[in-house]
Symmetry: C2
């Protein structure tokens, strides 16, 4: 094995890590995204991480995780609404600039690949990300589920409330519209505006709401319990659809820790109590919250690069070279 550079392109920051031949981290950086073209930002973040690592850690490959609709075969970011990106050939841009093969994967699936490896690399695993949006990456017997159009895991747009609030996607009652970060903030704002009893200000964001819930604020408790109920049901749906027996939860909201997790587990407990099927499908240790500082994104990008190298064979050709050849 050789050193690898892993890059995680997020909505607000780019994280990059260089690992040595044994996968031990050598250097890592995190920079906020800015107004330059995405490709330029990735290349400069990559260079910063490589500079920090030093020349003896020249990578054999680069992996990059990106949000949105990723064509991992072609190495192209097809669509990322939050980044205003359409058909961006990330693998070619980064690979050509650094002179190293580059492999691209959906950020959630990349992170899930690393988490799966960390946990022994067998069985199945779902990595649920609850932040500005909600999505899931599922690995079954070592294989990431991509779906026919790369849309597998977009469960933020599964119905949570029939004919519920309008979602940014155009549909009504989507899980994201009632349980993602902006939905938490919206619910609180509406309640504050209508004079409900709370210590929260009108513009409170989800992070603040979860802190207030931990302090017992009645509105914050009510909203976070409701969100927990919706997420628990989504997790049940996930488990029943895929049959996974481990659900790792990360993302902005999950960073709140217990105030985020407890309402979910309370609802799952109610379901277990009510139903044989729920007891079978939802074991007590089903959900695991990732530690807030987990750099699963960049580590996942490293895993993607290593498996890309293996698949490409001894020639060590990246997506760009495979496409052109």
């Amino acid at each position: 094995m050789a050193p690898i550079l892993g890059i995680d392109l997020g909505g607000t920051k780019i994280a990059a890590i260089v690992v040595d031949a044994d996968d031990a981290p050598v250097a890592s950086i995190s920079v906020p995204t800015d107004d330059r073209p995405l490709g330029d930002q990735l290349v400069s973040a990559a260079r910063q991480a490589l500079d920090a690592a030093g020349t003896e850690y020249r990578p054999a490959a680069i992996g990059s995780g990106a949000p949105g609709l990723v064509d991992s075969k072609a190495g192209v970011l097809r669509m990322a609404a939050n980044l205003a990106a359409v058909d961006l050939p990330l693998a070619a841009i980064v690979g050509d600039a650094l002179g190293v093969p580059c492999f691209v994967e959906h950020d959630g699936r990349a992170a899930a690949a690393w988490l799966y490896q960390q946990r022994g690399g067998d069985g199945s695993l779902a990595y649920l990300i609850v932040g500005t949006g909600i999505s899931v990456a599922v690995i079954v017997d070592g294989r990431p589920m991509r779906g026919a159009h790369g849309l597998a895991g977009e469960i933020g747009h599964v119905v949570a409330v029939a004919d519920g609030p309008l979602c940014a996607c155009g549909l009504r009652g989507c899980l994201e519209a009632v349980a993602a970060g902006p939905a938490v903030a919206r619910q609180v704002a509406a309640a504050v505006a209508s004079g409900e009893r709370t210590s929260l200000p009108l513009g409170a964001d989800a992070e603040l709401v979860y802190r207030a819930a931990a302090d017992g604020d009645p509105l914050a408790v009510e909203v976070t319990e409701t969100v927990g109920r919706f997420l628990a049901r989504a997790i049940r749906g996930l488990v029943l659809a895929y049959g996974v027996d481990r659900v790792l939860v990360g993302g902005g909201l999950a960073r709140a820790g217990a105030p985020f997790l407890d309402p979910i587990n309370r609802e799952l407990d109610r379901e277990r109590h009510a139903s044989w099927l729920a007891r079978q499908a939802l074991p007590p240790d089903l959900i695991e919250l990732l530690p807030p500082d987990t750099d699963a994104g960049a580590r996942g990008a490293v895993v993607i690069a290593r498996s890309g190298l293996r698949a490409a064979g001894p020639g060590e050709r990246g997506q760009r070279e495979v496409e052109d050849g």
Copy 2:
């Protein structure tokens, strides 16, 4: 290849088919289930089919599809609530009685395997069964999704209506509790009892309701539209979770044809109209209704037997022999 016997154990009938070396049907039978032990019933149905086929079609293996929680590796039907079966070693019982290796699989997954093969054997496919219960069998890149505990596809117990009607499983608002056959009958019975305008009698079953909907009965139309909306949303959830691009629909309710399918497609059209994501994920030809006379169950059992034989290798050993050996 050699002749194969496929058996489909259903809630109310057992269907069996003998195919020749080229998979052409030689004989098929269908008998109602009765009060004898399930193993005896399967063995006698198997013998009837073999008698009908004649001695020149002695099968190299038997495949059997069964509902409920099936341990296909051990050849055991772990739990089938509707059949009152617990830990029934089907592969051993049938294999020993007939002196031929026997392979057992979940009925929906067996049927899906055949449907997948029929449709070219590539990509992914979901086979949604809407009858007394609701479940789905999903095949991704040729691999049936089983889940960690064989529970993958139990989407009848995903939430359709938050805090909705109580489901037989003990939870509230499950898809089955609002969109399966008994739920259709219950909704109509409640409306008839409360004096709603309809041609339907109090005890109308789902089949009658769909016939009345085709004739324009206002209550039947209202109920079947509602069911279609719930099923469309479940299908959207399925597509977003798994990323499948083909959903075949079968089962008792689907036999109604257009009065069953049209309300689903109307709701999907509304979603496509409202949302870019829905247009991406839900292509116009997403759903295909199986013809009412499709014997996907027994044909699927044949596919399971053939792949079991292949996996067992040249010795052609069934699950029982593999277990014991």
